[in-house]
Subunit: 404 residues, 2 copies
């Protein structure tokens, strides 16, 4: 099944906004085993849109169009879709009623120009948008099935997951279910993890488990895509592979699926009835920024301090921070970046200490890779040290990012 | 001049990385008055690449190709470009020498597979890459001129600005020079600024000054693109418009061109021989994160504190923070977000205080727009209050983002 993503809109074409909708859709489709073969971007221009629809209709089997469903005159998707399909636009009474209800619930009358959003090409299949006024729809143009989606990211996301992906999987004749299992790690590079996990796919001999990665330094996401007849079949296939991934990556797995490292740290603190203070130097508050605003941090996160510079050792700083903030636990990260201009091989020395109930543990490391690389690495390493400490794991397992 | 941007690479097509190169190139071209009409994205696939090159060669006058110039087997741009142009690949001895020098300076021998990067389609014009081994080149395919650029963002950026844009401007017959003037403001929405600046373009009657905006909440960038015969002509045209923009936007202009709000604040503090402490609550260290790691912050930024919660008024907190950190000046931001689940119209009350030499000034505001919107707004408003205070401007001019 050949899939094309067709993004529309002057804001995207002129680079006013970065097109993260494209990568989102493509990634989501990859996650369920579907591949995109082509991407097109055009502005709010009738001729270009018509050209783009026509080219896509002969190149692809499935075209996902994003944007152009709004109420203003430069939102052209319905109109040009109808032209490309050789049909007229008809008012969809159901969607008009839905929209009117949308405005009524907000205590407003629907502006007249919103009516345009209920004008769909004749023969369209409606794709529900429970959180906005832009009606999604599906339509055949030439030999391809087009799916029209709103430009607002959260509306697109919901429509893609709830409405479009199930339809695509049904068309692809994919057996009942596809499941994505994710592991988040810090400290091992992608090629190292690839090597460590060599052969895990073969634990399910029919090829229904596929291994993949997504590296976003300093974290690495390891993904297992599992196809099965139903949930029970998926669970049966996933179990041995999941166990083997956990065994081989061991303590390096920080979190799984939608969990984050910061949520795991706060959960462990909460479970143990602990409270936290953080002291950072060079990391510019990067640790605090990941935790302090989370609802789960309430009652646990006591205080974060960012010092311009700090001459003392991390151990001393951590002990003092815990006392000052009246917290059971304190994490201190002191970074000394080498002198000289920023460059790819600039190094930094990282000094991490955790004071917990008056006892201190510490970890030192050196990272090369320039200022920003060091900063991001120090944030992750410090938070992961805290996670390891709270989970009773060794905090000094050597990471691939460390250098002598 | 019809320009297409053609991005290649599996990582971009599958969404593993967000395609920020596309928006960068498009934005840079817009800034000099050139417009992109089409964007194409394909993976590292011979058939798709050839199709994409052929389609672009009949659709556009100029095609900027990004990616596929690396040393590995899946880097196909040179090879497919040669095929599309109907020419062979020839070794470029000059570039081979350049590459060998690149490795020698790093004390390494050039790996044999890098030689591939010096194989260019016959008849190519070399585009220098002073910071990498991927050689850029320009080549006619069909009626279009293709410019091939590296996927590494900093290499692309330099090649675009130094090599490609001057060639495009020469081809477009644009007079001598195009200059981009930028103003950064906080507190006025795009449509409000558009209204305030009504008619400023007409101050230069020949149409050689063009006004534009780029909104990235909470900041707004106001842009003037000026065309002129030479630098003196540009300056002459720009001067009255620039003066008028400054007059109409007044105190709301925080910084101009490459300057940032945080740099302006640190510069004003430095000039006055002041030192800074910051206390934040809900903003999760967002203010500190903008400043503490900047080289210019050394000796000025003393300490940032992020509190889990804070019951006292911002005035009290600011005075205490200055004393504790032994800083001349302290900024305190206390945010109380309304109860209830996150939603578009969730509100927050922002309490800002600046203690300076023992004297305190304060500012209160309410912002609606959900948790993240409030958080970003509070960070910007607090930093801008400090800028205004340091520049002797009123700190309580009402912003468009405030609600009752």
């Amino acid at each position: 099944m050949r899939i094309e993503i067709l993004c529309t809109g002057d804001e995207v074409l002129t680079g006013k906004i970065v097109n993260s909708n494209f990568s989102y859709v493509s990634q989501k489709l990859e996650d369920v085993g579907l591949s995109v073969i082509w991407g097109t971007t055009v502005g709010d221009d009738r001729t270009m849109l018509l050209d783009a629809f026509r080219l896509a209709s002969v190149r692809a089997d499935i075209v996902i169009v994003n944007g152009g469903l709004g109420p203003t005159v430069d939102d052209l998707s319905q109109e040009i879709a109808a032209e490309a399909a050789g049909v007229g636009l008809v008012l969809n009474d159901d969607w008009l009623t839905t929209m009117e209800g949308f405005f009524t619930r907000r205590g407003r009358a629907m502006p007249p120009n919103n009516k345009k959003q209920a004008m769909l090409p004749d023969g369209s299949e409606v794709l529900d948008n429970p959180i906005g006024t832009a009606c999604g729809f599906a339509l055949d143009i030439g030999k391809a099935r087009f799916f029209f989606t709103p430009g607002v990211p959260r509306e697109l996301r919901r429509m893609l997951e709830e409405q479009i992906i199930p339809r695509l999987l049904a068309r692809a004749g994919t057996p009942g279910m596809i499941h994505l299992k994710r592991f988040h790690s810090y400290g091992l590079g992608e090629s190292h993890v690839d090597q460590l996990l060599d052969g895990v796919e073969a634990l399910v001999p029919d090829g229904s488990v596929k291994l993949g990665f997504r590296a976003h330094y300093p974290q690495l996401e390891t993904k297992l895509v599992v196809r099965g007849a139903d949930r029970a079949d998926v669970d049966l296939k996933l179990a041995p592979v999941m166990a083997e991934v956990r065994r081989r990556l061991g303590n390096f797995i920080m979190a799984e699926d939608d969990e984050t490292l910061e949520a795991v740290v706060l959960r462990e603190l909460g479970r143990a009835g602990k409270t936290l203070a953080v002291v950072e130097t060079y990391t510019s508050g990067g640790i605090v920024a990941r935790m302090a605003h989370l609802p789960v941090a309430a009652g646990i996160f006591r205080r974060g301090v960012v010092s311009g510079d700090e001459a003392r050792a991390a151990e001393t700083v951590a002990l003092e921070a815990a006392a000052e903030a009246d917290a059971s636990t304190a994490l201190a990260v002191i970074v000394a970046v080498d002198a000289g201009p920023d460059r790819m091989d600039l190094g930094g020395s990282i000094d991490i200490a955790i004071a917990d109930g008056g006892v201190v543990v510490a970890r030192q490391a050196r990272i090369l890779g320039g200022r920003e690389w060091i900063r991001l690495g120090a944030i992750e390493m410090a938070m992961d040290c805290l996670r390891r400490h709270l989970q009773g794991l060794p905090i000094d397992e050597r990471s691939d990012f460390e250098r002598k």
